[in-house]
Amino acid sequence: MIRLEKRPQASQAFSWAAPLLAVIATMFFGGLLFAVLGKDPITSIMTIFWEPLFGDFAFYYRPQLLIKGAPLVLIAIGLSLGFKAGIWNIGAEGQYIMGAIFGAATGLAFYPTESFLIFPLMVLSGALGGLLWAMIPAILKVKFGTNEILVSLMLVYVAEQFLASMALGLLKNPEGFGFPGSRNLQQYASAHNAELIAGSGMHWGVVAALIAVIFAYVLLARHQLGFAIRVTGEAPRAAKFSGVNPTRLVLFCMGMSGLLAGLAGMFEVAGPAGQITIDFNVGYGFTAIIVAFLGRLHPIGILLAGCLMALTYIGGDIAQSQLGLPAAAIQVFQGMLLFYLLAFDLFTNYRLRVGRTEVA
């Protein structure tokens, strides 16, 4: 009889091996799926994982990984703090939207004045937009005990409607012949979040994501607040006795995740996306939840998970165009990858025992 037994402590070896095993399993079963769809499995897998990193045009795709991964990592880092403490902000998508609207509106308010002060101001107001939006569920939670999952989720839909209204109204490009969408910030030097080195994909959002990773790492490993977060998540009662103030913790975690999501939105709208449009948001806020958990809520893990997700998106698009795989097949493939990553994680904390070693 095979049974699961909890390891005395998490296996270091498996915490590295599990993701690798998961990727291998996904390649195998994903390959099967592609074969069923009538595509060459080896070529398909190579296209998704190899092409963006080492293919003929890797010089173009590698920077794109940064552009695609940065918002995911930035948002996921913020979310992970709350998730660790059992505070569930699943409305990062809305905070991302509000950050973008605040940031873009600030920049556009100064149009066409050029000043080096404009961009820092946009960064501040973008962060503020996300922070304020996250403070709604946070304050309702500490004041009335309202469930933050629901409020933050509802606020995503509110933010989406607000975005549509802004793109069609207040922020509409006055020179856009009545079409929806704001001016393109890429064409407004003072507000443009340009690449720091042309062709590198490095823009301020990538820098911010890296800083956030380091910040979160230090916070969790060294700081009193990091301790409070960890202990609240692992043993809420013990946290109370050790003097953790739950109200402050909720405000901090929600605020931080909102702030980072707002920053992500602001860097996106000022850089890669360029403008506020009805469909500006593409689900980074939700994907980031997956990224946070794939990275086991650990800053370094999140960085790697963000890059992996970005890789499957970029590789997936290449596979669509080169091999004619439907987008749905790529989605199924991503789902599989997540399933295996989650399932193989089991062996980090548990091991299989054959035979009857103890009485249940």
């Binding site: 309702l140 999952i149 790529i330 991503q334 789902g335």
Partner: protein
């Protein structure tokens, strides 16, 4: 503005229909959460139900068989979630999100040949003279059988949780899996059954959209109903009757804003479109005085030796 254009009878009948997919999906999730499991994959299971139901109804010509297939499809997909969270002890939030991603993709693959097809229609239940009762007739006695099934299931789940031994065990598992385990209940098996029930219900809700409410098959056609259903469970503080109320409220507000637009009320449309969500938040704040409701073990994994 012409408010007289709004026919209150049809308005009420309309939101009963609009609320039905929500009721199914949220009711299933309520049972799942009562057992202490949080499955965020409702949207994924709904869309799988939508295509399984649609395809089966088109192939067999029977909408009822379609609904049966939708329940089976939703339950089958939920088994994947059950395996991940109950056997391999994976994180429930992430597993649920992955399930949604997978479900959306997989349903699109399954549905490739069903775009633009018209499904067979499910007739209204014939209530004979009841249908002609003024006021109540058009509101209550002019719907299809599945709508009544949804209502019946709310009653059944309520009674099951409140009066039966099975309900007691389910709640015990959700409150404290360790204590339930110590009493000799098979926590994993009970939760797996609950998850499958949730999947089947979500599947029915999805099929109600693809077979009755819209009716057509299009990729991603559930368009977020699964997420609303999740919110509804919390809104209802895990009580079936409040869930019913919440679903009608949500469906009602959406209908109302469309009605007001049609009647030419000069409120900015985008703010009207936001209103169902904002009102849900407000009601939630009012209701949040009640803290007794959440199952204590919600979202936490169980392993017998831990």
């Amino acid at each position: 503005m012409d408010l007289s254009a709004i026919n209150p009878l049809l308005f009420v009948a309309g939101f009963l229909v609009a609320a039905t997919p929500l009721i199914f999906a949220a009711l299933g999730e309520l049972v799942v959460e009562k057992s202490g499991v949080l499955n965020l994959g409702v949207e994924g299971m709904m869309i799988i139900g939508a295509i399984c139901g649609f395809a089966t109804a088109v192939e067999t010509g029977s909408p009822l068989l379609g609904f049966a297939a939708a329940a089976v499809g939703g339950a089958a997909l939920s088994l994947l979630f059950a395996f991940l969270t109950q056997i391999t002890l994976a994180n429930q939030v992430a597993s649920g999100l992955a399930l949604t991603l997978f479900g959306l993709g997989f349903s699109a693959l399954l549905g490739q040949s069903y775009v633009g097809v018209k499904p067979p229609r499910l007739a209204e239940v014939n209530f004979g003279p009841l249908h002609d009762i003024p006021v109540l007739g058009p509101i209550l006695f002019s719907h299809d059988i599945i709508l009544y099934l949804g209502f019946a299931m709310v009653v059944a789940v309520w009674a099951m949780l409140k009066f039966t031994r099975a309900g007691l065990i389910l709640r015990a598992v959700g409150e404290s899996h360790d204590a339930a385990h110590a009493l000799g209940y098979k926590v994993v098996r009970i939760r797996t059954l609950a998850i499958m029930f949730g999947g089947a219900c979500a599947g029915l809700g999805g099929a109600y959209i693809s077979l009755i409410r819209v009716p057509q098959w299009t990729e991603g056609m559930t368009a977020g109903v699964g997420w609303i259903a999740l919110a509804l469970v919390v809104f209802a503080s895990w009580k079936p009757w409040r869930l019913l109320l919440g679903a009608y409220l949500f469906g009602g507000i959406t209908q109302l804003q469309l009605n007001l637009q049609g009647a030419g009320v000069a409120i900015p449309v985008e703010y009207l479109a936001m209103s169902p969500y904002i009102i849900t938040i407000l009601v939630l704040v009012v209701l949040s005085a009640d803290k007794s409701a959440a199952p204590a073990s919600l979202g936490r994994n169980f392993h017998a030796s831990s």
